[in-house]
Each structure stands twice: as structure tokens, then as C-alpha cells.
């Protein structure tokens, strides 16, 4: 049965990526590896990891990458986002973090980073860094269900995989309804809308990653170099 590996928040750490690749080689049925952004970060020089992602070694599961919040900040600061700069990074982490980020990535990687997409739609799943609203949107188990439903509805998907919060969780919206009364110049009408059964899944960050089987809707939360964090959640 097809399975996907979902990784994010590597932050330039090649060692963690290599550990994950080693563990993926031991897993059966893995067909695709999605890296949901934050490939880079200010703590590590990211060049070696970026090179490895663009030029996988023999035996590596081929990574399919999107950009995350840190890439967005770098692209903005280096002039790839029109007039915007890395304001969010500057406000939250200060100028040193901006400088750290700039020095952690060689300019030779910028064209590749700028070519990365916001997200992937695979089957009925959205694979994103933040959410359908923004790359920096943090979806958590404690987020309002209304907001979660909105983020799913914007892309009309049944599963939304997110990484920005760095948490591993599965939140199923599994029922509910709302009445809508509309009055216009043609008269009045009532409608009842049922809440669709959809899910938001946090895949973790760094050494915390996830495996997902789209056929069975089964999610497994893992930690690189450790035991499974969970034995599997969902309807597998």
C-alpha cells in the first residue's frame, strides 16, 4: 500500500535529514517524500542540506519540497518578493536572526528556492507548510475548529497536512451543522449545512516526522533515531 513520508523544519540540519533517510529505507511501501518547508534556518549553514535535496544521493527517497516560513523570509530579504523584506523575522527574532539566515544560505541556491511552490495537492490532501491562508499560519490542536474548517474549505480538500506549529497531531472534524437564513429582495430562505468530515494533521518538525497511507487514511508519528511516537492513528 502506498505511503508518504512527511518531513519539515530541517533548518539546514543535514544530519537529521540523513537519519530520516536511513529510517525511510527500512520502511516498506514508501513511495514519496514530501519536505514541507523550513529546509533552512539561522542555526545551521544550510548549503550542504540544500545541495543534498537538489542532488539526492543514490538510494535516497527523492524529496519533493515546498517553501516554508524561513524560506519566505529569506526570499523576501533577498528581493524575491517584490517590495517586501523579512519584516516578520526582524520583528520576532531581531536583526541578528536576519543576518544569520542570510549567511546560512549561499546565493547559488536562491533560484532553486525561488522555484519552490507554496504547497502540493495530492488526491484529496493539501500538503502545506502553514495553511491555505498563509505560509506562517500556525494550525494547532487548540485552533478554533471554525478556522480549521475554513482553511480546508479554501482548497476544498479533505485532509490538510501542516508543519508550521511543529506539533504532531490529528484533528478530525467529525460532525456538526449550521442553519443559514437568507433574506434578499426575492424573499427569504432557510438552509442547513452539515459540517464536512475532514481532518487537519500536524506532521511535526525536525526529527519528528510522519508517515501517511492515503489508501487507508492511516497516520504514523515518528521520531528520527527513536521509537515510534505513536503506533498509528486514523482509520487504518
Amino acid at each position: 500500500m502506498e505511503r508518504w513520508a512527511l518531513v519539515s523544519g530541517l533548518g539546514g540540519d543535514l544530519e537529521v535529514y540523513e537519519q530520516i533517510q536511513r529510517e525511510l529505507k527500512k520502511s516498506r511501501g514508501l513511495e514519496r517524500l514530501f519536505v514541507l518547508g523550513d529546509l533552512i534556518g539561522p542555526r545551521h549553514n544550510s548549503d550542504a542540506l540544500l545541495k543534498r535535496l537538489q542532488e539526492p544521493e543514490r538510494g535516497d527517497l527523492q524529496p519533493e519540497c515546498i517553501y516554508g516560513w524561513w524560506e519566505e523570509q529569506l526570499l523576501a530579504e533577498r528581493g524575491y518578493r517584490g517590495e517586501r523584506t523579512a519584516e516578520a523575522l526582524r520583528i520576532n527574532h531581531g536583526n541578528d536572526a536576519v543576518e544569520g539566515l542570510l549567511t546560512s544560505v549561499d546565493s547559488g541556491h536562491m533560484t532553486w528556492l525561488a522555484s519552490l511552490q507554496f504547497g502540493f495537492i495530492e488526491l484529496d490532501c493539501a500538503l502545506l507548510h502553514g495553511s491555505s491562508a498563509d505560509v506562517g499560519d500556525e494550525l494547532k490542536p487548540t485552533s478554533s475548529p471554525l478556522i480549521l474548517l475554513d482553511r480546508l474549505t479554501r482548497l476544498d480538500v479533505n485532509r490538510l497536512f501542516t508543519a508550521r506549529s511543529a506539533q504532531q497531531f490529528r484533528l478530525d472534524l467529525n460532525g456538526g451543522a449550521i442553519d443559514s437564513h437568507i433574506k434578499d429582495l426575492n424573499g427569504e430562505q432557510n438552509q442547513q449545512q452539515a459540517a464536512p468530515k475532514r481532518s487537519v494533521i500536524g506532521i511535526g518538525s525536525g526529527e519528528l516526522f510522519s508517515l501517511y497511507a492515503p489508501g487507508s487514511d492511516h497516520i504514523e508519528f515518528l521520531k528520527a533515531g527513536g521509537k515510534p511516537v505513536s503506533r498509528g492513528l486514523g482509520f487504518g
Binding site: A133, P141, S144, P145, L146, I147, L149, D150, T153, R154, Q167, Q168, F169, R170, L171, D172, L173, N174, G175, G176, A177, I178, D179, S180, H181, I182, K183, D184, L185, Q191, Q193, A195, G202, G204, L208, F221, V229, S230, R231, L233
Partner: protein, 271 residues
Amino acid sequence: MAHAVISCLHANLAAVEAVLDDIDQQGIETITCLGDRVGYGPQPNEVVELVRQRAIPTCQGCWDEDIIDGLNACECSYPSQLAERRGHLAHQWTEAKMTEDNKAFLASLPTSLRRDKLLFVHGSPNSQHEYLLPDMNAFAALERVETAGAETLFCGHTHQPYVRELRGGSIRVRVQHHDSSSSEEQEMTLPMRRIVNAGSVGEPRHGNTQATYVIHDEATGDLTIREVNYDVAKTCQAIIDAGLPEVFAWRLSHGFEYAERADDASHVCER
């Protein structure tokens, strides 16, 4: 106390004058405007100056924004490429016609106005370009109002007036954390919220040529959609005399959108 909400004036002086007369005749003194004073119509300076003269609080519409910042929305603002080309012609004409003083005034407008639990925006709290259509997913519509911290959201932009009450809602969720094989179930009761679309004064698209606006009685909560007759032929002639695309006059004289509807009208412009 009753207050009136007007939107989407679109440089149609005859319609604006007729609506303001109608409001005055009812003794209503508080008026809020939801933007788009200009665009499509032939009298942008006259309309901006009339609303300024009346000191009507206004939030900035998508046309008001685009005249200042240049065309800043993606193609999602238009239902088709044909509509987009016509829109660009109207944009260029309006930009050339408007005085610098009136442009500076439009640039100074806020994107939203708030009075207690009433929120006034042009499109949605997310964007001046987002359409809150009456058949929009009810949960998504409620999210727009609730996330903005409002109880009643007044909007325009669609040119179709309506009052939508969202009530009796709930969502059940089950949360499974990474370190637990058990799950928590909870049910969230959703609050009652309202979305009120004021329609359009200067370019109605609700299937009738009459200008529309809404009256809200804050004491009773009653909401009334008003239709007002005005001299449509006069504005149509002014459109043609100004050299604007004739289809704008045709649209005014029929009261509905000439072009096809957008495939995804609720799409949020990302630019």
C-alpha cells in the same frame, strides 16, 4: 437609532443623490459607506466630493485602493478576461480623470470601520477583493465574522444585497495527540452572527436597475433592504459621452452582470 449603510457608488452621481435623498427623507443621520466610490461610472470626482461634503465615514473599496496603488489585485477580481479588459479601461479612464486631491483622499481611507460589535468592510475582513456571496459556505462565512471579532458584518463588493443570519451551529472534533493512542472528543457551539450586504448604489447587479442600500435599526436589530429609483438613462448617457465602454451603460440599464460569473468567487486575492 437607525443608521444607513451604502456601498459601491461607482461614480454614479444620479444614483448617489437619489439614495442620499431617500435616507434624508427618513430622518436618518448616521450613514456609513463601504467603499468603491469610483470605477465604471462617469462622475468619479463629483461622487467623491459629495460624500466628502456630507462627511460620511467610508472604508476603502477595491476600486478606491486600485486607483491609488495601481491595479493591485490578481485576475481573480474579474469574472472573465473580457471583464478584466473592460475593467482596465475603466481604471485608466478614472485614474486620468480624478484630481490629485481626491486620489489623496481615497488613499487616506481605512480598510475597515468598527462600531462596537458592528464591523464595516468592503469585501471581507480578509481583503477588499474577497466576495462574500449569499451562498458561500456557511461555516466559512461565519469564520469571517467571528475571526474579526464582530457580531454583525456589513459588506458590499458583490452588488447583490442580502441579510444572512448564521445560527444554531456546532462542530464536533476529535483530537489525537502524537503521544497518546486515546483521543479527546469535544463539541463547539457556534455563536449567532449576521452578514449584511448593502448591495450597490451606483451599479446594481441584483436583477433590477434600482439603487440599493440597507437600514439597520440598532434598537430592534431590524434590517431593511431599500431599493431607490433614479435617472438611469441620465447616467447611461453620461457613460457613453465620457467614452467609457458602452457595456457599462448596458449593464446599468439591465441591473445584472454582463459577463459570466467567476468560477471561484470566494477566492481570496493573494497579491
